[in-house]
Symmetry: C2
DNA sequence: CTTGATGCAAAGGATTTGCACAAAT
DNA sequence: ATTTGTGCAAATCCTTTGCATCAAG
């Protein structure tokens, strides 16, 4: 088995569930994708291998409950990305107003600012924070250039 | 007409749309609610006044495009809150892991930190940011106390 | 073997759309 | 008058569920 999948196998089995071929295939699909996929898109990629749409949904839900994947909800549709063992502990996304894509953002250097924010909010509100979603709404670099023109740079 | 509604009337009419009784009623409903409402909940509150569900959806969409309301998507359902002319320019929410409520958070003092973050991200990624959604996932104060007990405070 | 997982199809729930009628400018 | 908005019901899209079968431990 793919070395990368071992920790997920353990997490799933520790929870009393079975690590099936379908789960392995779906996980690999998410891991190997450079963009965020929704259930249907995952299904389109794996349906040749005898996996039903319902199985994709069921497994995504299981993965999410186990903290293996993270769900991003955009316009009422759920997209998925790997959560743990990812290089980026903090997930910041930009939803482009123009092209509607969801873009992973470079969050290096932001983590420290975020931690400050996190702590401040926890103390102020007497809450406990497990996770955070930050979604910027704006123009991605490509659409920004299309709108203003590259020559208009200040 | 309610004094508070005047700017919305103007925004809607400036956009070439009509400011109908239904729109006024829906806006007032959102403004007067202390919690975030979804389309169905708004419909339940106004259906006695001869307003259809489809109208609620259509108008919410229009309000959102005009920047009058802001949509929060949680578990695949869209909830709405007033966006502009609100006391809080920055919308931070906590989705409670336990009771599933969406809670408005006190963001005073966070705004400045946010602005720094915003600027940093814009420059780093060559993007233009219009808006930001920050959603914390954690325990609200009530559920936190239920879980850990009030006596366990450090 | 026993239990959970699967595929399929049907059901469910949120949102959108087509259409004839009503209301706004 | 003309154009946009509306209510209703049907349609659509994403997601979940029931059930008979299959596969993992």
């Amino acid at each position: 088995m793919d070395r990368d999948l071992v920790p997920f196998k353990k997490m799933i089995e520790d929870n009393g569930n079975k690590f099936t071929i379908q789960k392995r295939t779906i996980l690999k699909t998410i891991m190997e994708s450079s963009v965020h996929l929704n259930a249907k898109e995952i299904y389109e990629k794996v349906k040749g291998e005898n996996i039903g749409l319902a199985t994709v949904y069921r497994n995504l839900k299981e993965f999410q409950e186990l903290g293996i994947v993270k769900e991003l909800n955009v316009n009422g549709i759920s997209y998925y990305e790997m959560k743990i063992f990812s290089k980026k502990p903090l997930h910041i996304h930009l939803k482009c107003y123009e092209c509607d894509n969801i873009i992973d953002m470079d969050s290096s250097g932001i983590d420290i600012e975020y931690l400050k924010l996190n702590k401040m909010v926890e103390e102020k509100n007497n809450m406990e924070i497990f996770d955070i979603d930050i979604m910027f709404i704006g123009l991605c670099s490509r659409c920004k250039e299309e709108r203003y023109g590259e020559t208009n740079k200040v």
